[in-house]
């Protein structure tokens, strides 16, 4: 039995289809990432799995319990951290933790060794009001609260959104730790660069899953020629590139543009054409594909 099984799950809000026949499986002890932009349906999926919403079609189970029929059982064994900071801002760190322990009928001391790696970083501020914590500290407190009852499955909806780069990296380290202890983690993020920290990821967009695989396989399976181009007028370069023969796709990517090319593409010819259009210092070199490249190309198909 897998930790999470989703079959043909469908959820509509009026005419808008938030989830369009979604199916996937998360194994026990897996760190599974849902990667996709805003509006991909990630939050809806979390709310369905956390038994806050009922699906319109399809079914899903968490640890073998059905999300509709056995929702009370599910609520005992999952830890849920919504996308928005959902603790009590006017209560202190300690009071929040105590309250959530009481909510699950346990005490902070009983779960202390589990939450310690997370909690010890905010423990010096335990008398501070939660609303006065920094973004990173808030997430750590929310994670501590979600862990207080030793859940078997963790649902983390965009835990790193609005958190600085260092805290984000620390947060993923903590998730790896928790995975070691056998907790199944389903986590969503809009940041493509975080995908590599997951065991497997599902790339999703507009309520559909584009692909599911390990981050490595996803990148390896990208079978097109990819180039990075740059020049002194990036905007003109972007427009020019799209007209050059052999260019299938050109999109801004960090400080350069990425070009997906077919067999007709020739580097020298590209430089000549770009220079002709008035772009100087044109540079073209083959690039390593990333998850984002895969995502952009899957989305355009």
């Amino acid at each position: 039995m897998a930790a999470i099984e989703v079959h043909n799950l469908c959820k509509r809000y009026g005419k808008v289809t938030a989830l369009d026949h979604l199916s996937f499986t998360v194994e026990k002890g897996e760190l599974f990432g849902l990667i996709g932009p805003d509006g991909a349906g990630k939050t809806t999926l979390f709310r369905l799995l956390a038994t806050l919403l009922n699906p319109d079609e399809g079914s899903a189970t968490v640890e073998g319990f059905d999300i509709v029929g056995d929702y009370r059982e599910i609520r005992e064994i999952v830890g849920y951290m919504p996308g928005r900071f959902s603790l009590y801002q006017d209560l202190s760190v300690e009071e929040n933790l105590d309250f959530f322990a009481a909510l699950f009928g346990t005490r902070v001391a009983d779960a202390y060794e589990l939450i310690e790696p997370v909690y010890k970083q905010i423990e010096p501020f335990k008398t501070r009001r939660a609303g006065k914590l920094s973004g990173g500290m808030k997430q750590k407190l929310a994670l501590s609260c979600a862990l207080i009852h030793r859940p078997k499955v963790l649902f983390l909806d965009e835990p790193t959104t609005g958190v600085d780069a260092v805290s984000r990296s620390e947060f993923w380290d903590m998730l790896s730790d928790l995975k070691q202890r056998g907790i199944t983690i389903l986590v969503s993020t809009p940041y493509m660069d975080e995908a590599s920290r997951c065991d497997r990821v599902a790339l999703c967009n507009e309520g559909r899953i584009l692909t599911i695989d390990t981050p490595c396989h996803i990148v390896e399976n990208f079978d097109k020629r990819l180039y990075a181009v740059s020049g002194d007028n990036m905007f003109t370069l972007l427009n020019v590139s799209r007209a050059v023969s052999g260019v299938v796709e050109c999109y801004p990517f960090g400080s350069a543009h990425h070009i997906v090319a077919d067999a007709a593409f020739n580097e020298n010819e590209f430089i000549a054409q770009a220079t002709l259009a008035g772009v100087r210092n044109v540079d073209v070199y083959p690039a390593e594909p990333t998850i984002e490249d895969v995502f952009i190309n899957l989305m355009k198909q």
Binding site: R47, A50, T51, L52, L53, N54, R72, R75, E76, V78, Y80, M81, P82, R84, F85, S86, L87, Y88, Q89, D90, L91, E95, D98, F99, F100, A102, L103, F104, G105, C145
Partner: protein
Amino acid sequence: MKKQHNFLSFVKKETLHILRDVRTMMIVLLIPVVLMILFGFAISTEVNNLNIAVVAPTRTDGVRQSIERLANNPYFTFVGYINDEQIDPMLRSAKADAVVVFDSDYERLMAMRAEGMDTKPVMQFIFDASNTNVASAGAAYLQNVMTTDHSSQQLFEMHLLYNPQMKSAYNFVPGIMGLIFILICAMMTSVSIVREKEMGTMEVLLVSPVRPIKIILAKMIPYFVISCINLTTILLIARYILDVPMSGGVGSIIFLSLLYLLLALALGLLVSVISSSQVMALLLSAMVMMLPMMMLSGMVFPLENLPKVLSPLPYIVPARWYIEAIRKVMIMGLPLTAVLKEISILCLMTVVLLGVSLKKFNDKLE
């Protein structure tokens, strides 16, 4: 045992929320005091310190006796004798609220009256009626004082029972109690429950083994306690500052009030179940509950004056029954057995409201 520990933690958390919000807490605790003082002294419709000037062309013994009685009355102040031309300026400058004009032939006309003869009026009251409440109440009372004359034959006798001085405190104290408890129990609890929905904390609460209804009940306890504090303040101010008699016994008043508090909490629960945002909860409480309650509870306007079409409405306003019962017990001094009808209606309303809101309560997001 464990469950009880749970429940206490919820109550503690809710109490912390309230204690942390010092401003709101102060407002909640001070509102009753302010309202009581305001209605008790500033917005009073009773006759108090009315300045009376007198026009008396002949100052015979009979006239002097009448003026003596006027001057000795605690509710009137005799400001002095004036002549006809001064009447208008005195009233306009607000130096006098009313003028009593004696006929120049007062003594003789009174004597004729005493013999049963029909004469022209012997005395005239001229009132500043820019404040109609003060004028009408004052005129009635002034007439009462000036005509309890041995020599005058009265055609009928009037007794105002339970509230002979027409003190407005007797009227508004039950009204304020009806209002305050709805304000605190219904409005504050519903807003605090809906705040959890709005802040997203309800999402986390729902994904836990605890039945949300338990959390909501825990939420109500601190507000119930605050309301009890308010009840004490109101009763103390009413008894010792406004001299309301409490003749039906404090125990009965407290019993009725506790019943009403439960009703208000049930009402708040219903509002919180229906509304999805704090603004909506506030509007629902203010527009749908408070306003009709003030209009239809008999607190401000006599229900008898209501147009026929609207006359069934007051029957569904909880405050109306509470205020009526409190009036009977507090002012008229009736025992609880005399308000059994009101008590059973309040009980019924509480049960219905609780039933509806529990049925409507949803432990999912939609």
